[in-house]
Structure formats: C-alpha cells, structure tokens
C-alpha cells in the first residue's frame, strides 16, 4: 500500500510538471528542455529555507515560485531571441548552468552531499508526515494546476499561444507583440514547475543535484509528447504511463542479474513503438 501511495505521489508531481511544460511546448510551440531547472529551483528553495531558516513549507513554496519566476523572466528574454531547434539548444544550456550551480555552490546547496532532513509541512495541526495525507496535498495541488491550465488555454490568451505556435510572424502582423506572450507563458510554466519542486523536496526529505539534469527535462518532455501535445488530459495520462511502465516491468519476472538493464531496454522499445505508431501521442491531435 505504501508503495502504491509512493507511486501516486510521484505521478501527481509529474502531472504538475507536465501540465506546466505543456503550456510552453504543446500550446506555444517553444521547445523548452529546461523544465528540470525550474523544478530544481523549487526543490532547493524549500530544502534550503526549511532546513537552514526553518521557514514554513507554504511560505517556501511562495518564495520558490517568486525566485523561479524571476529567473524564468530573465532566461525567457534571452531564449526569445532563438527559434525552433536553437531555442531547444539554448534552453538546454540553461539547464546545464542551473545544474552546475546546484552542484558547485556548496555554501548554499551543499553540492553533491545534498540536503537531508527536509521536514514535511505541518499546518492547522494536520500532520503531513503520513504519506496518505501528503498524497492528498499533492493531488490537491495537481488539481489546482489542472484548473489553472484549463483557464489559461481556454482564454483569448490561450488562443494567442496557439497562434504563436502556428505562425508567429503572421500573428505579429495582426497587432500582437508575441514576445510578451512567450515571456508570460514561460514564466507561468517556470513558476508552476517550482511548486512541483517544493512538493517533491518535502516528500522525499533528502535531495541532491543529480535529479535536475537534462535527463529529467527530457523525461518531462517525453511525458507530454507521449500523452499528446496541446492536450492537458494527455499530460495526465502521459505522467501515469511513464511513471508506471518501469514499475510494472519490475514484476515481469526476469532473471535478477539482467532485470535492471532489461527494464531500461523494454522501456526504450515501448517509447519508440509508441512514437512510431502514435506520433500525435496517446490522445493528442497536434504534432511538433
């Protein structure tokens, strides 16, 4: 049971991450592979504030969101100068920078030693150290993020995002300063990712930089492509799918000595087959 709750918490955290990345990649067409950086900023915000300064969890979420937004604003301004593949490469560069800050700013982050002992939140005498109760908190945030995302994509703002994805230059001729829109959605995406980070830090209680590499960004990207770009429910489905597949493969019953490697291989094959036969994702309609 604990194991299932653990998986559910992971899924809910990845739902938050993938919904927010989908706003940037799926709806606006900005191929960002730097989501783990904002995720990490949220994680470290909560980890540092809670362990060093004893700041309460919910305040640390807020600070994480603010820090992440400011950094997203600065990075977004630079990335807005790039297009398509170059955008992806530029965002990748930012992920590398943030990762090396986590790794090397030892006074702040303790570098590779990581930060242990991050406390669970405690509010109104509800003790979130019980995993089931913490799960409810994470799901609550995931639902909230889902509704915020729905609100964004259903508005005129969301329509403009899609227009940018389809033909930014043409859209400009109709009087839209598309840079403002691209910047806004990048900041919104970064801010939401930081929330997921805070939740993860409080849940896992020990963090180190290795979680926030490019690999993680690509994993989140894989979730939204697999689930369906520009489809919010697709992101939820993709998160469930990609978190569960490797877990299910644990129970296939392979010889112990090759089990771990075989899981990776089968996982990779499943992903390739899916992209081959369903390039638009599980329930998406749009292809990059």
């Amino acid at each position: 049971m604990e194991y299932l709750i653990h998986l559910a918490i992971l899924i809910a955290i990845y739902v938050i991450l993938s919904l927010s990345l989908n706003l940037v990649v799926g709806y606006t067409g900005l191929l960002s592979v730097t989501h783990a950086a904002f995720y990490g900023i949220g994680v470290y915000a909560t980890a540092i504030l809670a362990t060093k300064l004893g700041v309460s969890f919910f305040v640390s979420i807020l600070i994480g969101v603010i820090v992440s937004s400011i950094i997203a604003l600065a990075v977004g301004m630079i990335l807005n100068r790039f297009k398509d593949d170059y955008y992806a490469l530029g965002s990748f560069g930012f992920n590398v920078i943030i990762f090396s800050i986590f790794l090397n700013w030892q006074d702040l982050t303790r570098g590779p030693l990581g930060i242990p002992g991050i406390p669970r939140p405690n509010i109104f005498s509800i003790n979130f150290s019980e995993n089931l109760i913490f799960l409810m908190l994470v799901v609550l945030f995931a639902v909230l993020v889902y509704f915020i995302s729905c609100f964004v994509v259903d508005s005129s703002f969301g329509r403009v995002l899609k227009g940018i994805r389809e033909d930014e230059k043409a859209l400009q001729v109709f009087g839209y300063n598309t840079h403002h829109y691209k910047l806004s959605i990048f900041v919104i995406g970064g801010a939401i990712a930081a929330v997921a980070g805070s939740l993860f830090a409080a849940y896992i209680s020990f963090i180190d930089p290795s979680t926030f590499t490019l690999n993680e960004s690509i994993f989140i990207l894989a979730i939204i492509i697999l689930g369906g770009l520009a489809n919010l429910r697709g992101s939820i489905l993709g998160a469930i799918f990609l978190v569960l597949i490797p877990e299910i493969l644990r129970f296939v019953g392979m010889p112990n000595e090759i089990a771990a490697q075989m899981r990776q291989v089968i996982y990779g094959i499943i992903l390739m087959l899916l992209m081959l036969y369903r390039p638009q994702g599980l329930i998406g309609e749009y292809k990059l």
Binding site: S155, G163, E166, D167, L171, V173, N177, H180
Partner: protein, 254 residues
C-alpha cells in the same frame, strides 16, 4: 481636361515609399523604389516573377526589415517597420503562400484577430458575443460559417485563401495588402474575392493588389504600378500602362 482637374487638388495619400531598398545578399529584390499610393483606391502591383512585388509588401508589413529608404503610413514616416505595429497604422494583409493558423479552428482563426491584444486583458477574456457575431458575419461573407469547427488545415486551397481574406477583413483595417488572392482558385471563389475588393473600395478603404491576371487588374484597379527587377517600370491607369511597350516586353521577354 480630366487630367487637369485631377491634378488641381491634393489627393489623399495612404502610403508613400521613398528610396526603399531590400536586398538578400547581393540580390536587390527592391532597389531604390519610390511610389505613392492613393487613399480609397484599388492599386495594382504587377511585374514578372522576382520583380520585388512580394518583397515590397513584406517590407511594408514589417515581415522583412527595410535595408534603406523610408515609408510613410498616413503621414507618419518610418525607416523601421515593426510587424506588430503595422496594424496600429490600419494596415493588414494576406500572404502569397497562405499563412493561416493551421492547427486551429476556422472560427479561432477569425476570433484571434478580434480579441484583446493586451497580455493580461486576454487572460481574463474568451470572446464576447459581439466578437462571435462579427466572426459569423465575416465567415458567412466567404461561405465558411458552416466550416467554423474544422481545423484550418483541412480546408481546400481556395477555402484557405478565402479564410485568409476573411481574417484580414476582421481586422477592419484602412489599408489591405492582398498578395495574389486570385492565384490558383476556382471562378466562383474568385468572384467572391473580386466582390470583396469592390466593396472595400466603396467603403473608402485602400486596397493594394498583387496580381498576374491582367484582366483582373483592368477590371478592379484604379491605378497600377509595374515593377521590374525591384525598380518602377511604369505607372498609371491600367488600360494605358498595360499597353506600353516596355511593360509588354518585361512580361513576355523580347
């Protein structure tokens, strides 16, 4: 006699282009072009392929940066045209290569140009009944209201061209730049477009039309500019200009 009376009063001007240069590497697509486009008239721009017609329109709408020279919209002189600002001068356009928002609904292709331009404003708005009514009116004008829930990419080529013109109409602009709106479409649809051009003229709007079909130029245009190798070859009333020897030569070769 008629010419004399015409030159006796100052004609209202929509666009002035002075010494406009746009080059791609060593190739000068527009080479020191100076033209004046009158308000409330349909002006044709003709010329062989590669004569700089589309480049001119792209420079006027900020799609391409101007290398040299300046333009004036309604009396405002600019040496740098920003694409997101041209609409504030009342200018809108269509594209030769039909640039719709393909993976969006037909209706959304229209609504997007009707709704709020401000980032925060747009976040708290979907579209009003007024927007929807206006979109219906425009889409019915080009017979696409029934297709409003289809993706723009699933329309036929002619319907896509009509949708692009509808999108320009939705801008309610003063100056319309139409880049080969009649190319490659059926007669019934061409009739709709010709009717729209005439309606715009009646409403006192300025239309700039790039077109290869000389019959359409004669039928629709008040004035025509002939471009060749990025320079002005001739201008005047269509029936006179199109008869000129150098114009015929430029089109048909020696």
């Amino acid at each position: 006699m008629e010419n004399q009376t015409e030159s006796n009063y100052i004609k209202p001007i929509a666009i002035v282009v002075r010494g406009l240069v746009k080059h791609f590497g060593g190739v000068y697509a527009v080479d020191g072009l100076s033209i004046t486009i009158e308000k409330g008239k349909v002006t044709g721009i003709v010329g062989p392929n590669g004569s700089g017609k589309t480049t001119l329109i792209n420079a006027l709408s900020g799609i391409l940066p101007i290398d040299d020279g300046k333009v004036s919209f309604d009396g405002v002189w600019l040496s740098k045209v920003k694409s997101y600002e041209v609409s504030s001068y009342g200018i809108t356009r269509t594209f030769q290569d039909v640039r719709l928002f393909n993976q969006m609904l037909v209706l959304d292709n229209i609504l997007i140009v009707l709704t709020e331009r401000n980032v925060f404003g747009s976040l708290f708005e979907k579209h009003s009944d007024f927007h929807l009514k206006r979109a219906e009116e425009i889409l019915r004008r080009v017979n696409l209201w029934e297709k409003r829930h289809e993706l723009a990419k699933n329309l036929s080529y002619g319907q896509r061209k009509l949708l692009e013109i509808a999108r320009a109409l939705a801008m309610n602009a003063e100056i319309y730049l139409f880049d080969e709106p009649f190319a490659g479409i059926f007669r019934e649809m061409a009739k709709i477009i010709a009717a729209i051009v005439n309606e715009l003229r009646v409403q006192g709007k300025t239309v700039i039309l790039i077109e290869h079909d000389m019959n359409l130029i004669r039928e629709l245009c008040d004035h025509v500019f002939v471009l060749d190798s990025g320079k002005l070859l001739a201008e005047g009333k269509p029936e006179e200009v199109l008869k000129k020897k150098e114009v015929v030569e430029a089109y048909l070769g020696e």
